[in-house]
């Protein structure tokens, strides 16, 4: 059987999986940021009238999924697999969002890199002929992430300048073997990188080496320079991590230009209220499906590389003094 691998870590597709339908929902804060025009839906109330933020998060995810399906005139039974994940324990938001769909569900976790991982896995399912349509979605919520990873927001703990603000929102899309839409050409799944950083208040710096590792491998595998892509969008490094990525790239002799941007830096603008910027599984999802896809569809860019970054920590590992393992998955999307 012909292998569809190129270089050490990258896979490529011949029958390119297409992103035929997408829907993004963001919370109020994200909706006040400079990229609000790119999002399909901006919530008035981040809790959607629900008694808990956890219930609200799964509802946001469910709404994004329903909209992504109905925009393309699909119903759940047209989909063979639902690949989804979020930041909460047991990817519980994804589980609940899958409850009513009644289709095979694959719950996955790469923290904030989950969206890139799900795009990659969904594409493989399609290309392997195991499905004709795959539904991919991720979500996160500021309040649920704070509660699980740090302190409940009721405690009103002071944040540090390197802290990142978890995006409230969800992004969902339908990958299809046929139809029209931006196409996925390559996927480079990353490996775990752990440089021994331990500060949970600075996840950007911890993730930057993983972003660089995957980006470098990807470019080497496809034998291209960074300017092959019109936009290289890292998921959620934030200002601190983005700075680190540029420093690492410079040291290792990889020339990254202005085509490199970061979802975590962009989404809230310069507002210092959000510390070093945004993070969260929804961050790379809404920036890719909102901002990235718009640019691709409008012809402003032709090639986009998403480098979804994730810090794989939990509260126990932080309390027990462990360092933060990180990961980054790259997905190349072409207009």
């Amino acid at each position: 059987m012909a292998t569809r691998r190129v270089g050490g870590q990258t896979i490529f597709f011949e029958d390119l999986p297409k992103l035929v339908s997408a829907h993004t929902i963001v919370g109020k804060n994200e909706g006040q940021g400079p990229y609000s025009e790119y999002f399909d839906e901006i919530l008035e109330d981040d809790l959607l009238g629900q008694p808990t933020a956890e219930k609200a998060e799964r509802q946001i995810l469910q709404q994004a999924v329903e909209q992504a399906l109905s925009k393309y005139g699909l119903v759940p039974k047209d989909i063979q697999y639902y690949v989804s994940g979020d930041l909460l324990n047991q990817v519980i938001s994804a589980v609940f969002s899958a409850r009513n769909l009644a289709i095979p569900f694959l719950g996955i976790f790469s923290a904030c890199g989950t969206f890139a991982q799900s795009l990659g896995l969904g594409s493989i399912l399609l290309h392997g002929g195991f499905a004709s349509k795959v539904l991919v979605a991720t979500s996160s919520h500021y309040q649920t992430a704070e509660r699980q990873y740090r302190y409940p927001i009721e405690l009103n703990i002071q944040h540090r300048p390197t802290n990142q603000h978890t995006v409230t929102g969800a992004g969902a899309c339908v990958l299809s073997a046929d139809g029209e839409g931006p196409k996925i050409t390559h996927v480079t799944f990353g490996r775990i990188v752990d440089m021994g950083l331990k500060d949970p208040n600075d996840m950007g710096s911890a993730m930057a080496p993983a972003a660089f590792d995957t980006l470098e491998k990807h470019l080497k595998d496809i034998e291209c320079s960074p300017d092959h892509y019109d936009l290289i969008l890292t998921g959620d490094l934030g200002r601190q991590g983005f700075k680190m990525l540029k420093i690492i790239a410079e040291k290792k002799g990889l020339a990254l230009g202005t085509n490199l941007q970061d979802g975590g830096v962009l989404i809230y603008g310069e507002d210092p209220k959000y510390g070093a910027g945004a993070s969260g599984a929804a961050c790379s999802a809404v920036m890719t499906l909102g901002y990235g896809l718009s640019l691709l569809r409008e012809g402003k860019i032709r090639r986009l590389l998403l480098v979804g970054t994730g810090a794989l920590l939990n509260q126990l590992t932080v309390q027990q003094g462990d360092s933060i393992p990180t990961i980054a998955h790259a997905v190349a999307i072409e207009a």
């Binding site: 804060n29 981040d46 500021y142 704070e146 927001i153 002071q158 500060d199």
Partner: protein, 116 residues
Amino acid sequence: MQYLIAFVVGGLICAAAQLVLEYTKLAPVHVLVGLTVLGAISAGIGIYEPFLQFAGAGALVPVSGFGSSITRGMLSEIKRLGWEGLFTGAFEITGLGLAAAVVFGSLMAIASRPRD
């Protein structure tokens, strides 16, 4: 004058705690517990009492004052009861503050919802 001293001293304690938060990797919880323990120990070796006389509310309101109250309650109960005072005394003075925190905290939790 008393108000001014209380204001300045209380402010200085909080500023010191804030500096610890800014320039170390300690979490707010560490600072909270650290100040409480400092207050309790300094009350035990007799420093906090004169400090309280001098700064009044400025020394009592920060959480170090809470720590000192634990020790002061113990000391007075030990005088009254003997060694059992070690166990009964901790909440002698602080009981009021703790109960108030629980009651008003619960009321606020019922009355309000968190927002980001």
